[in-house]
């Protein structure tokens, strides 16, 4: 269990680092898929099966394909031509490192996460899986936000059309 966690955590993080470090956007995209796979595994490890699957389907699948598609479509040069300016790089690294340090400090100092992974009851029976539970929540309590999200998606669709159609008829 712990061992697997470290494997997937490493996968996730190295994938992430790959996104940042690779000069070729395509490679970045593939690193990202890798990272998302690791993340999905972590989700599953947290007993969040639906979320883990969604992560793979939506993120690693749909979204990253979209990214790749656009990268290919625009035929972006393989690597960014210029080298990173040293100052920007250095400063950014300092900021990011201090951010991480702070997050770790918060986590350790606050003791918020000292808890061990609590046991949960196994599935109570049919219709009690997390998919069921989330689905029920979504379509009962969170019915309204779902509708709003529908509007959001409509807006996004219209927007994408308006912004990228070749010529408006």
């Amino acid at each position: 269990m712990t061992f697997l966690f470290f494997i997937f955590a490493a996968l996730t993080l190295f994938g992430g680092i790959g996104v940042v470090v690779n000069r070729n956007p395509v490679t970045s995209a593939f690193s990202m898929i890798l990272s998302f796979l690791g993340l999905a595994a972590l989700f599953i490890q947290l007993n969040a099966y639906l979320v883990g699957v969604l992560q793979i389907l939506v993120y690693a699948g749909a979204i990253m394909v979209l990214f790749l598609f656009i990268i290919m479509l625009l035929d972006i040069p393989k690597a960014e031509n210029k080298r990173f300016p040293v100052f920007t790089l250095g400063a950014s690294v300092v900021v990011v490192v201090s951010f991480v340090t702070l997050v770790i400090a918060v986590i350790t100092k606050s003791g918020v996460g000292a808890a061990k992974l609590p046991a949960i009851e196994a599935q109570k029976g049919p219709g009690q899986s997390d998919v069921h539970q989330i689905g029920e929540l979504l379509f009962s309590t969170y019915w309204f936000p779902v509708q709003i999200v529908a509007v959001l998606l409509l807006v996004a669709t219209v927007g994408v059309v308006v912004l990228s159609k070749r010529e408006l008829k």
Binding site: S110, Y142, P145, I148, V151, L152, V155, V162, L168
Partner: protein, 495 residues
């Protein structure tokens, strides 16, 4: 009529507008905008007719703050600003068409207008929802609805370099702030175990609350919210985006988005302020941000030469005053002083009036004068005394000259700051207000003292003001002055 009908009606209106645009063959697409305007007026009327249920157990009410005039007021702000944005958008149509479509390549002569008119309706619905959202989920969803709509609208002039650049900047920084917001939400959820603001408040108010984690969550949320309302140093997107976006959208951003941002700000910050453990640090941080914002916004506005950009800095400056009010939340020992919610809400109401008036003028003028540089307003008073007068009224109000609504806003802010003994902030606020006199009146210089840049012998053309715009301007002016005499006209609407 239950209050959520309002959002539904607005969305339905937006859908109708989209459908009309898609399927009906209409010559003048301004009809679509007019439909929206009439619809919004009706919705605005309905605003005074909503009912609150006996019990708030129903599915919708999870996401609505209960019986709350303030949220209705913010809905009103959203509706009015959308209405006026539509008026502006209708006047702005030539520029929209010119910079989105290329008629030579077979584009419709009014291509892209329908969506330009319809999208604000959805943003409006999002803003209205934000106004009453009291659950992390609904806050997030409505906020993102608004934000994403704005990504589209800001970039709408896709052949215009400025609009595109503004869109990209807004997109990247907006997404960044969303990231922080979500991260913060996750932490709050982790600490309190709830998405409901009332429960979060209860959880945070407990003395044994994990203060470090809570403050960390607060920091993350504050970042995102400060970004939305334009608090320094998270305001950097504002000048660039305001300048690049289509003018009606700039107005929308500056009024609708900011107002909704502030109500969310109020809602999300109040649990932290209500907690004895956290309140001190939270207040101090807010005060610091308010101070920086005041200085940044006001002083950097002084040398500006582009009118829209100047208004962007002014928007930052006003955010500073609003934050100043937030940072002066009364402590337990000072009962009976003004509540920041009242001050902020009034301020935003006044801000709506004066900013929209200014943008109405800009949009109208833009039809006759190319460019939004302050210099290009030379001689406006001679070409159109009406517009010049409107402009000076709105500038006076923005600058906070008494007997305009803007003055009461500042007065309340100063009062609440003085009540709480926030002397440093008060001094900074004074400096800011003084700088405001300069940069707002700066616009009067070309308008009144300059001569129109026309060739010899050419006849001085007047500037056409469309009927809806004219009506709106007159109403706004009257409102500014009336509320400048009697603030109760605004305050009475929400208290």
């Amino acid at each position: 009529m239950p209050v959520y009908f309002l959002e539904i009606i607005v969305v339905a209106l937006g859908l109708i507008m989209l459908l009309v645009d898609a399927f009906a063959k209409i010559k003048d697409k301004r009809c679509i905008a007019w439909t929206g305007m009439v619809g919004l007026l009706v919705v605005f009327g309905l605003l005074f007719n909503v009912q609150w249920p006996e019990s708030t157990d129903g599915a919708f009410w999870e996401f609505y703050s209960s019986n709350d005039q303030i949220s209705l007021f913010y809905k009103g702000i959203a509706i009015i600003s959308t209405l006026i944005v539509l008026i502006m958008a209708a006047d702005f149509r030539h520029i929209v068409v010119a910079q989105t479509a290329d008629p030579e390549k077979g584009a419709h002569p009014q291509a892209g207008l329908g969506e330009f008119f319809a999208l604000p309706m959805f943003a409006c619905a999002g803003l209205m929802l934000m106004a009453s959202a009291n659950n992390l989920v609904s806050i997030f969803v409505s906020l993102e609805t608004v934000t994403i709509t704005f990504y589209i609208l800001v970039t709408y002039l896709r052949r215009n370099v400025g609009s595109l650049e503004a869109g990209v900047k807004y997109l990247i920084l907006g997404a960044l702030s969303t990231g922080f917001l979500v991260y913060g939400f996750a932490w709050i959820y982790g600490i309190t175990g709830s998405m409901q603001l009332s429960e979060i408040t209860t959880a945070l108010a407990k003395p044994e609350v994990n203060s470090i984690a809570a403050l960390f969550a607060f920091a993350l949320i504050l970042v995102a919210l400060a970004f939305k309302v334009g608090g320094a140093p998270f305001h950097f997107w504002i000048p660039d985006v305001y300048q690049g976006a289509p003018t009606p959208i700039t107005a929308f951003l500056s009024v609708g988005s900011k107002a909704a941002g502030f109500i969310v700000f109020l809602r999300l910050v109040s649990p932290f302020l209500a907690s004895d453990v956290l309140a001190d640090k939270v207040t101090l941080v807010l005060a610091t941000i308010a101070g920086i914002t005041l200085i940044m916004g006001n002083l950097a506005a002084m040398p500006q030469k582009n009118f829209k950009r100047l208004l962007a800095y002014s928007s930052v400056a006003h955010a500073g005053f609003l934050l100043m009010a937030l940072a002066s939340a009364p402590t337990k020992s000072s009962e009976g002083s003004l509540s920041p919610a009242t001050v902020v809400t009034f301020y935003l109401g006044a801000y709506l009036l004066m900013t929209l008036l200014a943008f109405l003028v800009i949009t109208t003028v833009r039809n006759s004068i190319a460019g939004e540089e302050i210099e290009s307003y030379k001689g406006l008073a001679k070409r159109s005394p009406f517009l010049a007068f409107m402009l000076i009224i709105s500038m006076a109000s923005l600058a906070g000259i008494p007997l305009t609504a803007g003055f009461y806003g500042k007065l309340f802010v100063f009062k609440i700051a003085a009540d709480q003994g926030n002397w440093t902030l008060l001094v900074i606020g004074l400096i800011g207000a003084a700088a405001g006199f300069y940069y707002y009146l700066k616009i009067a210089v070309p308008v009144f003292f300059g001569n129109p840049a026309i060739d010899e012998g050419e006849k001085l053309s007047t500037i056409h003001v469309s009927a809806p715009a004219r009506t709106a301007m007159v109403i706004l002016t009257i409102a500014i002055i009336a509320a400048g005499v009697n603030p109760n006209l605004i305050i009475g609407l929400f208290s």
